[in-house]
Symmetry: none
Subunit: 92 residues, 5 copies
Amino acid sequence: MDSISLVGTVSIIVAGLTIAIGSIGPALGEGRALSEALNAMAQQPDEADTITRTLFVGLAMVESTAIYCFVISLIIVFANPFWDFVIQNAAP
Amino acid sequence: MDSISLVGTVSIIVAGLTIAIGSIGPALGEGRALSEALNAMAQQPDEADTITRTLFVGLAMVESTAIYCFVISLIIVFANPFWDFVIQNAAP
Amino acid sequence: MDSISLVGTVSIIVAGLTIAIGSIGPALGEGRALSEALNAMAQQPDEADTITRTLFVGLAMVESTAIYCFVISLIIVFANPFWDFVIQNAAP
Amino acid sequence: MDSISLVGTVSIIVAGLTIAIGSIGPALGEGRALSEALNAMAQQPDEADTITRTLFVGLAMVESTAIYCFVISLIIVFANPFWDFVIQNAAP
Amino acid sequence: MDSISLVGTVSIIVAGLTIAIGSIGPALGEGRALSEALNAMAQQPDEADTITRTLFVGLAMVESTAIYCFVISLIIVFANPFWDFVIQNAAP
């Protein structure tokens, strides 16, 4: 197995697993926050505006951890410096 | 096993596992939020509109983590730069 | 084991595992939401229409994560670019 | 397997796993804090301002642990001194 | 596998895993403390100042454990004495 196969293979595996594993935490965390928000709204309908605003700003912060994983996945697929080096050296 | 078989095989495996593992978290998170929403509606039927609106915007954010996994899966299948490089070099 | 056998074998295995693993999360999430919906209806029979409508739109979003897995499985079986490449090169 | 393949391969694997594993804790922690904040707002609507301010300063601290992982991932991909040394020595 | 490859490889692996594993505990701990603080504020709004001050001093101490991991990761990447020794001895 030469360098190109190895680096390419590993990049594909890691790109997929990074976003797969990295989406579990944010999805569960957002689901929990969302369910509590709806519960809070039912208890205090008058505060629905404040609760909704806080919820979405908070969800954006939780979402950011998923976006970090997505960015790393895309970098590994499309802007991988290790792959660039390997194919440059292998090019005739 | 040559480069083409290896990269192709790994791409198929990772594309499948990425969306398979990546759908567990969002599905459970959305299910939890949805169940709480229905519970909240039963407690405060008058707030059903607000609860529904918040629910669907929130679900869209949870859904986004599943969509990240789906995008990476599709990229690995149809826009895989590693595969493109390998078959270009192998072409006669 | 030549390339055709290998890519074909892996495609079959992954197509099956993708939808198998990918159906666990949505099924549990939908089951939970549905059970809560029935509970909520029992508490507020007058709101059955609103609860049902919210339930089905929400279930459709949870279902979408299962559909992503289904799509990837179908792509791996019927529109697999890796398989197409391998059989084209092997054709006489 | 030569040094370049080895160091490149390991860098890709570690960059992906670092952010994937590192995003689980912050996402769950933020989700928990956010859900409790919404619950607290429902109990004490008058304190919504204080609760929101405390929440976001706290979330920023939890988020910082995810950012540490993201920084280490980016360093391993783009500013890796081990990789720099290996390719410098291998260059003709 | 020579000394340089081995030490470099292990350094990369450990740098990534250190901050990845090391961020799980602080993130969950901070999330828990933050959620309890918000709950306490809702019960005793008059004590919000005291609760907030105690929370942030406490969070800073929990955060310090994450910072220790971050520092060790950076030292392993950028100021690794083992790596310095190995490359000095290997240099021609």
